[in-house]
Symmetry: C2
């Protein structure tokens, strides 16, 4: 089959690799219907040291079960399924607590001997725990929104949930990338009435408004902080959803959060530490969030997608075939595309 | 009257100052029955630049109302009262949310024109909101425990509450100072069954055991982290109460917290930032806590003190008169005393 490999910064290739097959009785093999490129894929795409062998890449996919191991339950060949971006047994103590990203028997797509999501098929470890069956056909118009349940929408949702967004909290979302826009949609879904989106790409912030943002702040840094404070009577917002991962973004987050409020971050941090001095301490600011246990949220979010109440798949603004994946990376890195859907 | 002033590192003096009197109609004047020295007073005592005038110091006191302004309600001369370590109107939005430390009309003892607590009397701004009436006489044996409601015990309690301590969470407390021991007592009161106290002063950790610690870890740094992990099946604890404020302590906190767990800090931070790299992110660690809104907790904690169910005042292991306050500072700085009670 064909799959995507990354050889270094700017060097993504689609090559022939061995077809996946069952290795463990708990495995399934899934033929990929839809995959996509994640903002977090852009970190290695931007900085990975060049190497002579490619690493599998991609961690979001939706597909059809082709084969199952002898210990797999609840799934059969032909089922349409979505995979969260970390595989997990969904039975250990961490999984039962809703932290499947720390599963005692889980792991990451594209790690040693595990396929990446940006390919024609994937061997899925811990298939019974990992995969969620979708009641749709292979040609459903809902596939983009259902694929978003793999990572980007649950990531925005995790950000909003851990920040404590409710109908009574004001919200700032930092970042108008696909995760930021998903966080806007998640905050709106949780009932937030004031959602300030910090972003400066009008086409993206327009989608943010459609998703529920009530205000858009294009300014950054101190000026952006000032603007959010103006919009909130000087206080900042109860919750801040940091969806970028860069130091200036997390610093802005601490600037716009209200005393006693919460900063949640879901942008993979490209910094070693965060401000936590006496000022932050005196203001009782909480910092939470982290990698989203997407698996924990899929069943909860699925009905809203199936009913069309939310359309998180709107973050996909370009579709490529597998051979065009390198161009998809370029488009996202150049901010020419918001989020690229892959149709293998 | 006499009051304590700090002129610089190691230079605390007791001097004559003007008697406090009502300045605002919302003020009261309180004659101090008991005051004390806080671990946080040791930061300026250790590092304050020398100056030619003294600054008032002390922020924990309990006393008798001597005079009230025309707008003070709910208090009368003769009432025995305790003051939280930040004064507040207790009516603004922050106060109603239980964050009196961010009160819109509040402030700190010892700031410009406001008395410190380590003196014979104090002018109390926003007296109706700040002071809590105590149903005891001036000679009650409960005074030390009631005084602890001013700061040290609510601070330990705030740490435990914001960390999310419940009967189902395991707990590590970092620091065997008065705040750490108070955090042990608070965690026990909230039902925690495993409370690991990290501290190496046996006389203090013995009191920690009496307060409810189930394990004591004397090792520090990597060795201490290892030990806590051993005690918890390798996982660390759900909650970590950081009661020191130094960088190695907060680093240890991130080392001993379980994936998905919470670090709460109430030790005034002597560092500008905290570790927040991809490892912390992937583990979904929350950092919370801050300066404790003691006022928010006094009514809740008071009955347990009055009934003798808890004795937080046991952290006081030395009593001095007002003239001996400089010696009290020395004793605490030398770790000769755990926490010094002042009887003006």
């Amino acid at each position: 089959m064909k799959a995507t490999l990354i050889y270094g910064a700017g060097d993504v290739r689609v090559e022939h690799v061995p077809d996946p097959k069952l290795l463990e009785p708990t495995d399934a093999v899934v033929r990929v219907l839809r995959s996509c490129i994640c903002g977090s894929d852009l970190w290695p795409y931007g900085s990975k040291a060049t190497q002579d062998h490619g690493d599998r890449i991609g961690h979001e996919f939706l597909g059809v079960v082709e084969d199952i191991g002898t210990e797999v339950t609840g799934l059969k060949p032909g089922d349409v399924v979505v995979a969260p971006f970390v595989w997990a047994d969904n039975t250990c103590d961490f999984c039962r607590e809703g932290l499947q990203t720390s599963c005692r028997h889980g792991g990451q797509w594209g790690s040693t001997d595990v396929d990446g999501g940006q390919g024609e098929a994937v061997r899925v470890p811990q298939a019974s725990g990992t995969l969620v069956k979708l009641p749709v056909g292979e040609d459903s118009a809902l596939l983009p929104s259902l694929l978003s349940l793999s990572d980007v929408f649950p990531t925005g949702h995790h950000c909003a949930v851990t920040a404590g967004v409710t109908p009574r909290t004001t919200v700032t979302v930092i970042g108008d990338g696909a995760v930021g826009l998903s966080a806007v949609l998640a905050a709106k879904r949780l009932g937030a009435e004031q959602i300030i989106l910090m972003g400066r790409h009008t086409d993206r912030t327009d989608l943010g408004r459609a998703f529920g943002a009530t205000d858009v702040v294009a300014e950054r840094g101190e000026e952006g902080v000032e603007k959010v404070r103006e919009l909130t009577g000087g206080d900042g917002t109860h919750t801040v959803l940091e969806c970028v991962g860069l130091k200036p973004a997390i610093e802005t987050a601490f600037g716009v959060v209200r005393d006693g409020g919460t900063v949640s971050r879901v942008g993979a941090p490209q910094y070693p530490d965060v401000p936590a001095d006496f000022g932050v301490f005196f203001r009782n600011i909480t910092l939470t969030g982290g990698v989203a246990p997407a698996r924990a949220y899929i069943e909860e979010l699925l009905p809203d997608v199936l009913d069309g109440r939310i359309e998180p798949g709107k973050v996909f603004d370009r579709t490529v075939g597998l051979d065009d994946v390198p161009g998809g990376y370029r488009a996202m890195a150049d901010r020419d595309a918001l989020k690229v859907l892959i149709r293998p």
